[in-house]
């Protein structure tokens, strides 16, 4: 074999060896890299879900899934009216002269327990602190009375069509009660009021929210709609 041919064969062999090594390394590392990428994006993400289900015949449903990371990145970019750099400016007039920060400070430093309990014909209200959560439960019964007025109106009418509607309305009137349940981690509340006196730090609240565990934050149920706002690590709503 001529000398040039031997050199060429050695070159090709050397190249083939390096190529085989590189290919083997790539094949070995690629799945690991992909796995690392997948796991980092799936475990760290926290999702805020909103679901509104209408109980009418059309089956209207709204589902919103927001990654908290996304919200945290976008919020500082919004500078409009009262919202600047993730903070909302509030005035004392917005709170009807009530010093909310002082009230929250009192709630924060106090032990677990019920702070407000109101039971009336119109509504039941309960505000409590329990296991690091601020709980607000409201049961609004005013709709029942409101429907009662409508029923009187139908009674007075002589129109046949309206009389036909009466039994249906009176049936729904009994269930016309709305329930609102809010459960917010105290850390989130603290973060919200951590900015200056006249500011709400929404960005800090979002960060605190993403650090907290899975929780159902808001639940509203009435005879027309069911609203749920909750936090978990899944990127799809249930």
């Amino acid at each position: 074999m001529p000398l040039g041919g031997i050199h060429m064969t050695q070159h090709i062999r050397g190249f083939a060896r390096y190529f085989a090594l590189a290919a083997a390394a790539a094949l070995l590392l690629l799945p690991l890299a992909t796995f690392a990428q997948t796991s980092s994006s799936s475990t760290a993400d926290r999702w805020l879900h909103v679901r509104v289900v209408s109980s009418d015949g059309r089956g209207e449903t709204v589902r919103v899934n927001v990654p908290l990371d996304l919200a945290e990145k976008i919020l500082p970019a919004i500078n409009k009216e009262r919202l600047h750099s993730g903070k909302v400016r509030i005035t004392s007039a917005d709170c009807d002269g009530v010093d909310i920060k002082a009230i929250l400070e009192a709630v924060r430093t106090s032990k677990d327990g019920e702070f407000v309990t109101v039971q009336s014909n119109d509504a039941d209200v309960r505000v409590a602190k329990q296991a690091g959560y601020l709980l607000i439960h409201v049961t609004d019964k005013s709709g029942k009375h409101h429907m009662g007025h409508h029923m009187h109106k139908f009674d007075k009418s002589d129109d046949g069509a309206e009389k036909n509607e009466k039994p249906e309305k009176s049936e729904s009137a009994g269930n016309r009660e709305s329930k609102v349940e809010v459960k917010v981690p105290m850390k989130v509340v603290d973060a919200l009021f951590s900015a200056g006196k006249d500011e709400l730090d929404v960005l800090a609240a979002l960060r605190a929210l993403s650090a907290s565990g899975d929780a159902e934050l808001v639940s509203v149920k009435d005879d027309e709609n069911t609203v749920r706002i909750w936090l978990d690590s899944k990127n799809v709503s249930e």
């Binding site: 059309r58 209207e60 709204v62 919103v64 990654p67 996304l70 976008i74």
Partner: protein, 159 residues
């Protein structure tokens, strides 16, 4: 014969490379179907890479105008689409109302908007990177316009 084969190979390779370059950023897909008499049926596939190129051909004053109008929303949109790249397959909004259905999602790195109702279907797929490119170009056009206006102001001031 061999020469002809070489020419064909060269032509084929050029076509393949050109195709790969044109479609490297994916495809923008628009499907509109109106289910009524005389309703339009539009099915459009556009290489996403063509959009930033086409923007370069748009007269600058139009770009400046668009940039000025979108100025307020620009930082939000940029931040949003930059982050959306981290969520390549996600449903963000889904609304169902009887026969009507609206869905805003990302599918394989594309922004997907679907509107379905009895009389009309609209499906849109746009690569997120393309939207980012478009907004970057708009932003650049706005900046250039600002710089130019600043120079003009200087000129006025000197006069």
């Amino acid at each position: 014969m061999i020469l002809l084969a070489k020419v064909a190979l060269g032509f084929g390779t050029t076509l393949a490379v050109a195709g790969a370059y044109t479609f490297r950023e994916g495809v923008i897909r628009v499907d509109v179907d109106e289910f009524r008499q005389g309703g339009s049926h539009l099915h459009m596939w556009v290489p996403a890479a063509a959009v930033p190129m086409a923007l370069r051909l748009v007269p600058k004053h139009h770009l400046h105008c668009a940039s000025f109008q979108a100025r307020e929303a620009m930082p939000v949109v940029r931040a949003m689409f930059h982050e959306l790249r981290n969520y390549p397959n996600t449903i963000f909004v889904e609304v169902t109302d009887g026969d009507q259905h609206v869905r805003i999602a990302t599918e394989f790195g594309k922004l997907a908007i679907d509107v379905t109702e009895p009389g009309e279907n609209v499906h849109l797929r746009v690569p997120i990177t393309t939207v980012e490119d478009v907004f970057t170009q708009l932003e650049t056009a706005g900046l250039q316009s600002d710089i130019r206006d600043g120079k003009d102001d200087d000129k006025d001031w000197r006069n």
